[in-house]
Symmetry: C2
Subunit: 141 residues, 2 copies
DNA sequence: AGCGAATTTGATATTCATTATCAATACGAG
DNA sequence: CTCGTATTGATAATGAATATCAAATTCGCT
């Protein structure tokens, strides 16, 4: 698995150690395709590593973010969620205000226009978060 | 002041009472053009109403949101900020990751494309938040 | 103007997500 | 294998936001 290699590499480059806990968390998290709450992830990891600590999950997610392998999203319920970053991919989100469903989308025109907006305002763009709120097909009646 | 009238009207329509505290908070907040932390707003209001309570500021901001006269933004420092909604206006934000500067922008093309994205995904759009992160002209070297 | 039911206020307690602490443990370069 | 250092995990601390509740205020009504 390539992303795990990336994480190992990141740790090594920063002089950090590879540990059973970090490896377990990373290998599980990185092959998922979900938006995880820390608690959700903690509960999943506990299945394979029952003595895992809550703080370690927080710390490892922070490392995965620094390594560019995870992103953070804050939608509507006040909880912070994390999702794995899939190689060279970017997407934004639609969130249903009723059932909480999260839909992903990519739109190159919007991305391009954002770059232009930043340039016009003499702003060096590093990233962005675009979230559309509303009601999914099942929840709008 | 028209927006204060709107707020009075909202309170009345909902069977809520108009109070010295609500009026003071609304009249100050609504004529500003800033992104306020609850604490910032609390400190400002205290100048004209020293015995104001923290909880009342929270409660009144919630009412202003319900009345459609305030919006909430979460940028980078984890703090929730509130800004007054100016009549019929919408904008999104650029945020400098170094100095925290907040720049506003409007882009009709992006807005339009967002509507299309939602339609294609059979999603009933109610609102959105688009935040561009990077470095302002002073902070990029 | 004054009454009184119902709402609101403000001090403070509580909740809950996240971070800090620190002794015990694990890692890994040599 | 050894030893210095990083990491872990239990738990305390922090801090924003919400809940509580007695006292004060509002406002429709007489
Ligand atoms: Mn996603
Ligand atoms: Mn703004
Ligand atoms: Zn839905
Ligand atoms: Zn700046």
């Amino acid at each position: 698995m390539n992303k795990e290699k990336n994480f190992q590499g990141y740790l090594h480059d920063k002089g950090l150690k590879s540990t059973r806990q970090r490896d377990d968390i990373a290998s599980f998290f990185l092959q998922q395709d979900k938006h995880f709450t820390v608690e959700e992830l903690y509960n999943e990891i506990k299945k394979s590593y029952p003595q895992i600590g809550y703080a370690t999950v927080y710390r490892t997610l922070k490392l995965l973010m620094e390594a560019g392998l995870a992103t953070e999203c804050q939608f509507v319920d006040g909880l912070t969620r994390f999702e794995p970053v899939h190689e060279g991919e970017h997407h934004d989100h639609l969130v249903c205000l009723k059932c909480g469903k999260i839909i992903e989308f990519e739109n190159d025109k919007i991305e391009q226009l954002q770059i232009e907006v930043a340039r016009e305002l003499d702003f060096e763009l590093t990233n962005h978060k675009c979230v559309l709120y509303g009601y999914c097909n099942k929840c709008k009646e």
